[in-house]
Subunit: 133 residues, 2 copies
DNA sequence: GGAATATCTCTACAAATGTAAATTATTTTG
DNA sequence: CAAAATAATTTACATTTGTAGAGATATTCC
């Protein structure tokens, strides 16, 4: 039976976001690979990256599997799950769960191009049709 | 000269969100008032609330003014600013700044009612008109 | 004035987060 | 094989966050 995700979605710290995004783009992957991938952006040393990754394994955000010399990491949360967790927590903390104000804020926060507005509108339209059905 | 907010918007922790929301609803206000207002929800003691509030003053999120016996607190960030900061940081961390996927995720994350969809659509419409002008 | 009440101040402490050096083991390569 | 390069392990440490107790002060009420 397919069941509606029961465990609340994860929340990641800023550092963890950087890591997991790199992992999603490279998995399965090693810690050295990730530190290399992030070095330009973060200048983190191998130690730092490794520590973060192991903590994330401990938290259930990734898995690690030791194959001989190297340790391979894989994400245990999908991008979707993580994004959703983040968004829902913002919705809850900052907007008391009220969706419309959140969207309003989003619209105001950035000067949106007409293209973006059109895209968003299309999403809504599609969802509406989807609901009707 | 009116200048475009240069300092990046604040980021608040979960505890800080609880506090500031209570402050917005009561300011200017005292620490005891806030702890009372939050007690049902958080069960925090006076010490806890007070510590949090003073830290927030140190961070520039609020001001405090000692009038005789009591200390009065006032927010230094508006709800708008704080919400915006939260949203933008989520946008950046979790969505690499891409707006449309974020909205998509939002739409998927909750089963939206037709009413909500309509509301959001109205927001978009309004913004579009606004852009044109 | 003393007891009760309300506040404040100071100090504390554990957990989480960000960051990394030092040491050890392993592998590659001249 | 010895030297060089890689990767892993262990340990550390400062800062931030969550949470609060204890003691000092001022205020009010009997």
């Amino acid at each position: 039976m397919r069941m509606r995700s029961t465990s609340k979605p994860p929340e990641l710290t800023r550092a963890e976001w950087k890591i997991i995004k790199a992992v999603w783009d490279n998995e399965p992957c090693t810690a050295p690979a990730i530190q290399e991938a992030l070095f330009k952006q973060t200048a983190w040393t191998y130690s730092t990256v490794r520590t973060l990754m192991d903590r994330m394994v401990a938290k259930g955000l990734m898995t690690s599997e030791k194959t001989g010399k190297m340790t391979l990491y894989r994400s245990r949360v999908t991008r979707q799950q993580a994004q959703r967790g983040e968004l829902l927590s913002t919705l809850k903390n900052a907007f008391n769960g009220a969706l419309t104000p959140m969207v309003q804020c989003l619209i105001d926060a950035r000067r949106l191009s007409e293209t973006e507005l059109a895209e968003i509108e299309a999403l809504i339209e599609s969802k509406k049709r989807n609901l009707k059905k």
